[in-house]
């Protein structure tokens, strides 16, 4: 790992942070950020930098970074683009660990000269610079938070195992807000903007070594360096699964008319090819990113034989349709399983897959059936459908499903479809780490992606 990538640790886990452009004016970027750190009770020292003030939020305010006594691990810059190269110079003088440049006004407005300046300084000094033109980072473990959207408007997700690398701040912030809403835990959030110094591949490389990160989400519009990205994705995805979301899929006007291949191969086709070659899981849209990422926390299945458990026949049939169209198979229960399941069912029930517990099934029936299925070697993964609307289902089902999800012998996806009551129940499940879906299609697709990745994982192990 390159020195400047290694040095990102100063950005993610700093003991001291300086905020350049810190401000007393409400809603200014430099105001929101300093409040982020204070409100989240950041454990290290915070140094506001702004020649206009001597004190901010009860903290001593400095004229420039090099005026601060002692070492500074991380500097967050939120001042106009023209001032940034000078401030970065000052950071080098102060031997700062890493820098986040939030300010826009670089490549995106054709000021490549300014971008080049900071790139040169960074390169010469192994200084990692995130951005410019970005939201920077959020690390719930250390409370570093340069997202300049107020916490009361954009809830911050709790600590967890999912890292999110995003080119777009807009997509990044909505994903963070949704993750917080569903109680999904984040390890690192990186909005990298123009990728002037460090690019998408560098962040993937860092996260591969990051002990808190288990799964990586990558949102891309265009790569800084495609070939490097392919090589890096190949390497990283072997260790930690990457879920990729690519925007800008149109064929566009760049196609040459002379050749068929030129006509049909837009730039997205190359990204799609690269994802396939690296065995990266590609999602179609923000919601699907969540669908996929939450199941990747489950145990890797050994095969594609699915058992479906339901208290409503129709949803079971719909689920079966998607199991078929996604190329998965319905498990054939062992004789032992059939015998045990017959004991759970009412006299008019039949043992089959999907297993319909029927609408008067209570929580106990679910608990027993899941237990039997966990023990059946002919089953690789479970889809549990719960119609929360039926009278006998109460909140104890949450405990049963959480236990099944924590069991870790087999992966489980749950499906519940409904209105306000059901959505509240789903939110609780999500916060307990149980993959919950409100559509059979989403659940089956997610489980298929996990199975495909697991198969790749198994192949690697055998090599």
């Amino acid at each position: 790992m390159n020195k400047n990538i290694q040095n990102l640790k100063f950005v993610f886990a700093p003991r001291t942070v300086a905020i350049v452009g810190a401000s007393a004016t409400a809603n200014k970027i430099g105001n929101v950020i300093i409040r982020n750190f204070l409100d989240a009770r950041f454990q290290g020292d915070i140094f506001p930098i702004n020649p206009k003030y001597t004190e901010l939020f009860g903290l001593k305010c400095y004229q420039k970074v090099s005026d601060v006594p002692g070492t500074i691990d991380c500097v967050i810059i939120a001042t106009p683009a023209e001032t940034v190269p000078m401030i970065v110079e000052d950071c080098v003088k102060k031997k700062v660990g890493g820098v986040i440049v939030l300010s826009g006004g670089f490549e995106e407005v054709n000021r490549t000269d300014l971008a080049q300046k900071i790139a040169e300084i960074a390169k010469k000094n192994n200084l990692p610079i995130i951005g410019p033109n970005c939201l920077g980072v959020y690390n719930p473990y250390t409370k570093v938070d340069s997202i300049f959207l107020p916490r009361y408007k954009l809830e911050r997700p709790k600590a967890g195992g999912i890292a999110f690398v995003t080119q777009s701040g807009a997509v990044g912030s909505t994903v963070m807000d949704l993750a917080a809403f569903y109680g999904i835990g984040i390890s690192k959030f990186i909005s990298y903007g123009n990728a002037t110094v460090l690019d998408e591949s560098d962040y993937l490389e860092y996260l591969m070594h990051d002990k808190d990160t288990k799964t990586i989400i990558l949102y891309l519009e265009g790569a800084k360096d495609g070939r490097k990205l392919l090589q890096t994705m190949k390497k990283v995805n072997k260790i930690k699964p990457i879920i990729a979301l690519k925007a800008g899929k149109g064929v566009g006007g760049q196609a040459a008319a002379r050749s068929h291949t030129g006509n049909i191969a837009g730039s997205y086709l190359a990204y799609n090819a690269a994802f396939k070659q690296a065995k990266v899981t590609e999602a179609d849209g923000i919601i699907e990113v969540f669908d996929f990422v939450k199941i990747f926390d489950q145990t890797k299945p050994k095969g594609n034989r699915i058992a479906v458990l339901t208290n409503g026949g129709g949803i079971g049939v719909l689920t079966t349709d998607y199991i078929e169209s996604e190329g998965l198979s319905l498990a054939k229960f062992s004789d032992e399983t059939k015998k045990e399941l017959a004991k759970i069912l009412p006299s008019y029930g039949t043992v089959a897959n999907p297993l319909d517990l029927v609408a008067d099934a209570g929580v106990e029936a679910y608990e027993k059936a899941i237990d039997v299925m966990m023990n059946d070697p002919n089953i690789d993964a479970l889809i549990v459908i719960v119609l929360t609307q039926t009278p006998p289902i109460d909140e104890r089902i949450i405990h049963v499903l959480t236990k099944a999800s924590d069991d870790k012998r087999k992966p489980i996806a749950t499906i519940s479809i409904g209105g306000t009551y059901t959505e509240v129940y789903r939110k609780i499940l999500e916060s307990k780490g149980v993959p919950s879906y409100n559509s059979p299609r989403a659940a089956v697709k997610a489980i298929e992606r996990l199975i495909t990745y697991s198969r790749y994982w198994e192949q690697l192990k055998r090599k």
Partner: protein
């Protein structure tokens, strides 16, 4: 680059093309067909014509000299007013599945290969799969499996599966050629596959 120069370049690089002769006049064409052996196909060669079929510049399944003379007259009549390099007389391709094997140099990822359902349906069905160069054998296997036309390649409806070894080798050869000669865009389209092998019917590339 003319078509014949392109043909020569590819043959030098180990691509086996269908036997052909570029005939400059009717007598030439008759002699060529005799040498190649009937049945043959005839195609207009003109720098001003890209889609030969659309202008009536192609005649296929020509079985004898009489048919050939008629076809020659028709094609030249259809192309009246256009600059003509000659008429390509080519051995008739085998019957089978028509595929396209192509490639281009992507601005971000460099050379890449596209495999798909070929012939005149390429742009309509867009049944294609792509990979970034260099490719390995398993990439080609995966590309084949991704195509909607895949069952046909595996021998649907009592047909024998196509010669996948040959397909694999050809795709890897295209990949090598693209990279070594730094080709910008390339099409082998169609390449006709059956259980025994394949015929490369038409080629096009640019540097």
């Amino acid at each position: 680059m003319t078509l014949i120069e392109d043909f020569n370049t590819l043959e030098k690089r180990g691509f086996r093309l269908l036997p052909y002769v570029l005939a400059k006049n009717e007598e030439d064409a008759v002699q060529a067909a005799k040498k190649i052996g009937y049945p043959v196909a005839m195609k207009i060669v003109s720098p001003e014509i890209v889609h030969k079929t659309d202008v009536g510049g192609v005649r296929i399944k020509i079985k004898n000299a009489e048919m050939l003379r008629n076809a020659y007259k028709e094609i030249t009549e259809n192309a009246k007013g256009k600059k003509i390099d000659g008429i390509l007389v080519q051995k008739m391709a085998r019957k089978g599945v028509e595929l396209i094997i192509g490639g281009k140099k992507d601005a971000q990822f460099g050379h890449m290969i596209v495999l798909g359902l070929g012939g005149i349906y390429v742009e309509i069905f867009r049944d294609i799969s792509a990979r970034i160069c260099p490719l390995v054998k398993s990439d080609v296997e995966e590309m084949v499996a991704e195509l909607k036309v895949h069952p046909l390649l595996e021998g649907a409806r009592g047909k024998k599966p196509i010669n996948k070894k040959m397909l694999e080798r050809l795709v890897l050869r295209v990949c090598r050629f693209m990279m070594e000669e730094d080709i910008k865009e390339m099409d082998l389209n169609p390449v006709v596959f059956d259980e025994l092998g394949c015929d490369i019917v038409d080629v096009r590339f640019s540097r």
